[in-house]
């Protein structure tokens, strides 16, 4: 998250909830001798090409006291190599008509550039260079630490809803590293050292711990040649340590409250759920759509439209995660309404979806929504590359090809069963933002 353009990436991801190749089998997979996997998907509808490199490292791979390390490293990857001066990377890309950036999540760190077919080789070469030769220049370390602290102030400290999500996540998980924020706790960021970064870089930045995704207007043979030439000579690294922490089952609801200067209360429910490798993932996606997909969805109709107690609602199944994840339900409370009333209304709706099967028409509607979004998602090369990368990162990109068929197979009984199993109040964490009045100076 080097820059606020990250919002754009989120936006694309949101626009492209299910992007994938139009016909299965169009993604070409090649693994280089050094273990670097390359996933290529030609798409000639526009002249752009997106190049992304995904490192299998994120906050999930961090230790207590060192949170934010992966993200900090992502920033420092822009501080040059022996060939490229500090901060020169984005300038070179821009001079060649391209856009570039990077982001870090719990599971991965991704660097990307979107350029024309003629120019994309420049990004490939520079990316290979910094996989092997990043200097992580100490002369820039302290300034960049300040930048990251400003980033945290911007994203979390002064953003009440983000602050709520952070503290609720820290309670929903007790031992799994997903309890730590990707950007890191402020105290941890402050105490990270350049040696920490170097060690992290040496441990995780190797071809066998990364993969490349490219989507766009290129020819597969031509681009593979470029990738081999640039990355082929980088030696395989030692296997990075595995994360084997398992979150123990939750027995009993947990509650978190955050009191902070804000205008509107906000509610956040986290229910533990498996990731998309589990066969229930399709039914969980449909459940989220039935609850909050569009203005005719259950939560929207009841809370926003009929009762007018919420300004907005959402439900999201976070299946695209390397480990067990959460199904979340959120609501922004209308002015002068009580969070408790909103919580009760949500509880009663979730109770219903756990007690009675959804109608065939409602199920069909949700399937249509997911299928249409899947097609709309292919409109953007960046969005498509994101989705291929997310699937590869979690379960292997081939899962994408089974996605629509998997959705189509789900029955009303399946939705009822997963609702019963996962939307269990004893397995949830409820976070509430209680706005407080501005303290006068």
């Amino acid at each position: 998250m080097r820059f606020f353009i990250f919002c754009l990436a989120l936006f694309f991801a949101a626009l492209a909830p299910r992007s994938a190749p139009a016909q299965p089998g169009k993604v070409q997979e090649v693994v280089l001798d050094n273990g670097l996997k390359v996933l290529l998907l030609e798409s000639h509808k526009s002249p752009s090409v997106t190049f992304q490199i995904w490192y299998r490292v994120g906050s999930r791979n961090e230790q207590d006291g060192k949170s934010g390390l992966s993200h900090f490293l992502e920033h420092m990857m822009f501080k040059g190599t022996d060939k490229i001066a500090p901060e020169e990377y984005p300038r070179v890309i821009a001079k060649n008509g391209g856009r570039s950036n990077a982001f870090t999540s719990s599971d991965h760190t991704v660097y990307f550039a979107t350029m024309s077919r003629e120019k994309i080789g420049i990004a490939i070469e520079m990316e290979a260079d910094r996989m092997a030769n990043a200097r992580l220049d100490g002369g820039y370390f302290e300034q960049e630490k300040k930048v990251i602290m400003e980033e945290r102030r911007l994203r979390t400290e002064d953003n009440p809803v983000s602050a709520l999500a952070e503290v609720t996540g820290a309670v929903a998980y007790t031992v799994h590293p997903y309890r730590r924020p990707v950007i890191g706790w402020m105290g941890d960021i402050q105490s990270l050292s350049r040696e920490d970064l170097q060690k992290h870089y040496q441990t995780y930045y190797a071809p066998n711990n990364a993969f490349i995704v490219m989507v766009g207007d290129f020819s597969t043979d031509e681009i593979l040649e470029k990738i081999r030439a640039a990355f082929g000579g980088i030696p395989r690294g030692p296997e990075p340590p595995k994360v084997e922490v398992q979150e123990p089952p939750q027995r009993g609801e947990r509650r978190v409250s955050l009191k902070k200067e804000a205008e509107l209360p906000f509610l956040l429910f986290y229910y533990h759920a498996p990731n998309l490798k589990h066969p229930d993932s399709f039914a969980l996606d449909l459940l989220a759509t039935i609850l909050a997909g569009g203005r005719s969805s259950r939560l929207y109709q009841d809370l926003v439209y009929q009762k007018r107690i919420a300004r907005s609602v959402d439900a999201d199944y976070g299946g695209l995660a390397a480990d067990a994840t959460v199904f979340s339900v959120t609501a922004e409370v209308m002015p002068d309404k009580e969070p408790l009333d909103v919580e009760r209304a949500i509880g009663s709706l979730l109770g219903r979806v756990r007690a009675e099967p959804v109608s065939e028409r409602e199920l069909e509607k949700a399937k249509n929504q997911i299928e249409a979004a899947f097609i709309f998602g292919q409109d953007s090369v960046f969005g498509q590359a994101m989705r291929v990368g997310q699937y590869e990162s979690v379960a292997g990109w081939r899962h994408l090809e089974e996605y629509i068929a998997g959705i189509r197979k789900v029955t009303a009984a399946d939705v009822l069963r997963v609702a019963k199993q996962y939307l269990d109040p004893d397995r949830r964490t409820v976070g509430t933002l209680f706005p407080i009045k501005e303290k006068k100076q």
């Binding site: 822009f78 821009a94 400003e150 400290e157 005719s296 209308m334 960046f382």
Partner: protein, 441 residues
């Protein structure tokens, strides 16, 4: 949200150039009998169609004392027509997985629709209904007013949004361009059904509208279907509109107290309109100053050298009748004064010393080279076509753009910096914890 609207125009209009003669950037154009301008481009790669309708019905047409009317009108378009209730509209859209949204900016209202090709007729009929037969049911008006008021409250918890609002108020006092599009709570509460219906009947007219369509459909098919579906949509009275007179407010410093960890800073003054002859040289100058992301001077001096901010940029947002110049950044309260001083220093430096040949070339290379890549989705193409039409840039605009940029010389940039950056007119807005952010006496 309103400033985003302008920002979108600029984002897409700044970056034209390069392979402009491409057919995909030149839509087929026709004017229907009722005056509606139709721009269509076939993109057969995916079975989807995207509509972008712009209509001259923005908040600048709000009557005095009824600020927020244009916004409320746009929002209510999808909440009831002669033949469908709000819920029926939502059900219809959700069942086919289509997305439909309507909103207003200062100059224009817009309607966006994306659907699968197989649902084209359903979508066209619905689009025609909301444009010709919206009924503004009393109950829905109440609902939307509540929702807008909640939005007005919610923006008070977004420091960046407060800073933008205060900046625009000070820059364009007593003008619709200085007001938030949503209006204020009192004004919104006063709006009645009669006013909504009048606004709709007066401004939602085909001869005030531009419809851009990109996707799996031909120009002829669209033209036939729209002529049929919109046959009852009649031209308006057609009275000639006076261009609004806008006079900029004087230099001032505005401090807003909020218990934040960061100061949200906006510094700026009046800019130029989109039609201004110096528009392109100004965009090149601004790219170097602060518009060029990681390639800009502000990014270098504020972020990279001093670690004062995560995000810092400058922009010349140019709309039909007004334009703004601003620098926006966030930094911890304690460094607010330093960040403002450095931004002012960069403004002074570019006015006094101009730019180097390398900087100029890098800016031109980016602006020209990135052009064809910017329109890499149907939605962006549709939005681009509609804007080219609205700003009367001409169908050969994509071909002319690279030359317009290429012709710019260093002395032009210096002249533009001296003329269009006006340090003596700067309005400074600081939303912060004032006790910490103000200079010590």
């Amino acid at each position: 949200m309103k400033k985003f609207f302008i920002a979108l125009f600029c984002l897409s209009l700044v970056g034209f150039g390069a392979a402009a003669s491409e057919a995909r950037l030149t839509p087929a154009r026709s004017v229907l009998e009722n005056g509606l301008v139709l721009l269509a481009s076939e993109e057969r790669g995916l079975p989807m169609v995207t509509f972008n309708l712009l209509i001259r019905a923005g908040s600048r047409y709000d009557p005095q004392g009824r600020e927020g009317l244009a916004n409320l009108t746009a929002r209510l378009l999808t909440y009831g027509t002669r033949s469908r209730t709000a819920l029926q509209i939502s059900e219809t859209l959700d069942f086919i997985g289509a997305t439909l949204s309507a909103g207003a900016g200062e100059e224009l209202a817009s309607v966006n629709l994306t659907l699968l090709k197989k649902d084209l007729d359903v979508g066209l009929n619905l689009l025609a209904e909301i444009l010709t037969a919206s009924v503004f049911p009393a109950e829905e008006i109440g609902r939307q007013k509540q929702s807008v008021i909640a939005a007005i409250r919610a923006r008070e918890q977004e420091p960046g949004s407060i800073a933008q609002r205060k900046f625009h108020e000070a820059l364009f006092p007593q003008s619709p361009y200085g007001r938030p599009v949503e209006g204020d709570e009192k004004g919104v509460a006063r709006i009645g059904r009669t006013e909504l219906v009048e606004f709709y009947q007066r401004y939602y007219r085909p001869d005030r509208a531009i419809l851009a369509v990109v996707g799996d459909v031909s120009h002829q098919e669209l033209k036939d279907k729209l002529t049929q579906a919109l046959r009852s949509w009649q031209r308006g009275a057609g009275a000639r509109e006076e261009a609004p007179r806008v006079s900029a407010g004087p230099a001032t410093v505005i401090r807003i107290q909020k218990n934040l960890t960061q100061a949200n800073i906006v510094i700026g003054h009046e800019g130029v309109t989109r039609g201004h002859p110096d528009y392109y040289v100004i965009q090149v100058m601004n790219y170097i100053l602060g518009g060029g992301g990681f390639s800009s001077r502000l990014m270098d001096s504020v972020r990279n050298e001093r670690g004062l901010a995560y995000s810092v940029y400058s922009s010349f947002d140019a709309d039909k009748h007004v334009g703004t110049f601003q620098v926006a950044m966030q930094t911890k309260n304690e460094s607010a004064e330093e960040a403002i001083r450095i931004a002012a220093e960069e403004i002074r430096r570019i006015r006094e010393k101009g730019v180097s040949e390398d900087e100029l070339q890098a800016a031109k290379d980016y602006l020209i080279g990135s052009f064809p890549l910017r329109f890499d989705t149907n939605r962006r193409l549709a939005s681009f076509f509609a804007q080219v039409e609205f700003f009367e840039l001409g169908s050969d605009y994509p071909e002319r753009y690279p030359d317009l940029v290429r012709a710019i010389r260093r002395e032009d940039v210096l002249r533009a910096a001296q003329r269009y950056l006006q340090p003596e007119k700067l309005i400074v807005v600081v939303v912060a914890n004032q006790e910490k952010s103000q200079p010590k006496q």
